[in-house]
Symmetry: C2
Subunit: 339 residues, 2 copies
């Protein structure tokens, strides 16, 4: 790698969905990027896209273990550490809950120690899951959440809360300069088709002609942020001079029901889908929407990509991935989901 002026940005989880977009944007901004990923959920095709980039190095590593030699070798040039490492969809993070918890606590701690040692700035990607199944809408950062620490989502939700606690303690003890983002639902190209998240589920089911599955009655709401908006926000947060003790919600505050999302997916894919309604999984939040006042005020940021546009781009990408020809959405009338 050439020795760029911006130095090295370490991206843990950089081969994942948001991580791979972030790596590309960091390269574009002049960083050398060192991407660590255990390839637990990352798609090989994401990695192929990344490995074609200049100033990009991939190392297969699990941050639960001591950091690899490639990190130690570059330690004096690392200026930014982004921690995006953790499976984020319930079927994936529940497959090995012990590993999910250790990724968030031990893995985050390894990266924080690196930040302490190198003086690099550290950004934790936390999650809207720290709010659990919230009792207030929208959620501002001061809301303490309604999280079950005994349920099947706890390994992730409580793991992220523990990772936040650890990160803020490094800041409180002046051990590291930190930023904490609470990421709400994000979607876009390079999502995993099988990760069980609602956007990818609906698009892939529609494109593959399978029955479309909605959990619950579809009246639960979500907000969906397109990935380019999210990456922009993460980089702004990292470079901002925000009070490091303040977590920042990042997401799109425009709220849609799952049924509304479904309708837009059917338009974007040009598919007439058959819908089946399944019971809600345990602890699935009924509703979640970010209050992004802090991000607006401190980062000058808000999402810019409308859901229709983002779904069109995402559907086009999934269609190519799955080898499906996409009907021209202009040619189609919006279709009603059938119960």
């Amino acid at each position: 790698m050439a020795q760029n002026e911006a130095g090295v940005a370490l991206v843990a989880g950089g081969a994942g969905f948001i991580g791979s977009h972030l790596c590309r944007a960091l390269v574009d901004q002049g960083y050398e990027v060192l991407c660590l990923d255990n390839l637990q959920t990352a798609r090989p095709s994401n990695l192929r896209l990344l490995e074609a980039l200049p100033n990009f190095t991939f190392v297969e590593a699990d941050i639960v273990n001591p950091l690899p030699q490639a990190v130690l070798e570059r330690a004096d040039r690392i200026t930014r550490i982004y921690n995006l490492a953790c499976a984020a969809s319930p079927p994936q993070y529940q497959a090995d809950p012990e590993h999910t918890m250790l990724t968030n606590v031990v893995g985050t701690n390894h990266l924080l120690r690196l930040a302490e040692k190198t003086g690099a700035r550290f950004l934790l990607t936390s999650t809207s899951e720290v709010y659990g199944d919230p009792e207030v809408h929208p959620q501002a950062e001061g809301y303490r959440g309604w999280v079950s620490c005994t349920g099947p989502r706890a390994c992730y939700d409580e793991g992220k809360r523990a990772a936040e606690a650890l990160t803020f303690d490094y800041a409180r003890m002046n051990r590291a300069e930190v930023r904490v983002a609470r990421i709400f639902n994000t979607y876009g190209p390079q999502m995993h088709p099988d990760d069980g998240r609602v956007v990818s589920n609906l698009i892939c089911q529609a494109l593959s002609g399978r029955d479309i599955t909605v959990y619950g009655d579809g009246s639960q709401t979500r907000s969906f942020c397109y990935v380019s908006d999210m990456v922009d926000a993460l980089m702004r947060l990292m470079e901002s001079d925000i009070n490091p003790m303040e977590p920042v919600n990042l997401g799109n505050p425009t709220e849609f029901t799952v049924n509304e999302l479904l309708e837009k997916v059917l338009v974007a894919t040009g598919v007439e889908g058959r819908v089946t309604y399944n019971p809600l999984p345990q602890d699935d939040p009924r509703r979640r929407r970010p209050d992004i006042s802090r991000a607006k005020a401190v980062l000058g940021w808000e999402p810019t990509v409308p859901l229709e546009d983002g779904l069109a781009r995402t559907s086009a990408w999934f269609a190519e991935e799955l080898g499906v020809e996409l009907a021209q959405p202009e040619m189609q009338e919006p279709l009603r989901a059938r119960a």
Copy 2:
């Protein structure tokens, strides 16, 4: 150690306040006791008391590290694992918040892996702190709490929530047989005089003739369980056939304000104290009281030692420790605290 029929009970944190009482009770019940403690907060005098017991072995070890040889040597005879390891008072657990978090997550995980490997039953001592600064009174186990994951108590509160999540995941995955106790304020002989907890603070200040410090205006309430009641509850919970996915509140539901406690301490110590009121620390809960319906129903347990009796025994013990002669409480009239 003789090879007792009950087998070996491992007690992590066994040299601490509750731990040392538990070790003694387990020896009394016929267990060989293997006590691990890093001596971070344990008093050497507790250890001296314990080391006089038969069938008792102490090993200085920190459960954040891989378990010591003494554990591995006895692995095939370990039948019970009690995890009481973690500094529990804010000044102590805040001194090294990273270590507090790792004790709860990595340390608990080491013990859970031992339980998985040996088939021993595992009991986690969680805490009323998982309820944070609660919005409902009293707190039943289904209450999800009001905990800040960004504040200075988070290393402990979120650490314990994470430890619970991990423990319940071992049960959910059928990896270990577990029990989770949520311990509310407990007091008694062998408390640390300087741990910043309200009972020991008040008694020690009264006995040493210092000004007595109350944080806030003293109207915040607490419930106080005498240590013999708590140890009885922990052992009943361990031996019960409760649904392992259910945490159990253990504590005394009788509520006192800190000012009422102060008055009883002045009676128990026979001291006329000067009281100064200091600001409440950040995130200090205003009020907390256990709903112990589950413990009553499943364990047939409730506290039996009245606060006056417990304070008398505790004051007598502290007086001996501090080399102070205790005035006869019968001789004294209750004294009013002065603002």
